[in-house]
């Protein structure tokens, strides 16, 4: 089992992905926490733009972070399989190339929020993705996420 994911590692992601010019967004609860949502999460969820070039950069960044990638895994990331789950690195990481409920990366990128240098999906998109996923854990967290979104918007 990988170690816990913490804020310092979010910063490592930011640095490594910038170094390799990867277009990505924090999404899911890790994204919400970076925006100030008071909760816990056990991994990082990244929405990565699907293209061969971006996938190649993503592979480089992941290797720099300490993830062990086989050639097959690298190819899947370059190809942009919809969902890649990595538990063989310094922390757990989900790469999502086509999250539920979000029309496209371009739309999410246009809506994004930059906070402390972190590119993060807009809370509306995080909520839309959880609504579309419809998992029990999402249904539990949505009322509070919506309330946080309303508070967050009022503060801006």
């Amino acid at each position: 089992m990988a170690g816990r994911f913490d804020y310092a590692q979010a910063e490592e992601i930011k640095v490594a992905f910038a170094r390799f010019d990867v277009r990505y967004l924090f999404i899911g609860k890790s994204g919400a926490v970076l925006l100030g949502y008071p909760d816990t999460t056990q991994d990082a969820d990244l929405f990565v733009e699907k293209s061969a070039e971006n996938g190649q950069g993503c592979v480089g960044a992941l290797r720099a972070l300490g993830f062990e990638l086989s050639e097959a895994t690298e190819e899947e990331i370059r190809r942009g399989k919809d969902f890649v789950q990595l538990k063989n690195g310094p922390f757990d990481l989900d790469l999502v190339f086509a999250p539920d409920g979000i029309e496209s990366f371009a739309v999410a990128w246009k809506n994004r929020v930059d906070t402390e240098g972190f590119p993060v999906c807009h809370p509306d998109d995080i909520i839309r993705s959880k609504e579309a996923a419809g998992r029990a854990k999402d249904i539990e967290s949505l009322p509070r996420l919506r309330a946080f979104r309303d508070y967050w918007k009022a503060q801006r």
């Binding site: 816990r4 926490v33 100030g36 999460t41 919809d82 969902f83 789950q85 538990k87 999250p99």
Partner: protein
């Protein structure tokens, strides 16, 4: 916020170092069929 990330063991989900799915629907189906209900990854709708 800097201490908001914690880690606990999640049966099945944490038992493989890597997995991937061609579609999100495939991933959701896998979660539904393989993960304990109490982890909360099953669809409710």
């Amino acid at each position: 916020m800097k201490y908001a990330f914690v880690k606990t063991y999640k049966p099945v989900l944490d038992d493989a170092p890597y997995r991937s799915f061609d579609t999100m629907a495939d991933y959701r189906d896998w979660c539904q069929k393989n993960l304990p209900d109490w982890l909360g990854y099953g669809r409710t709708v």
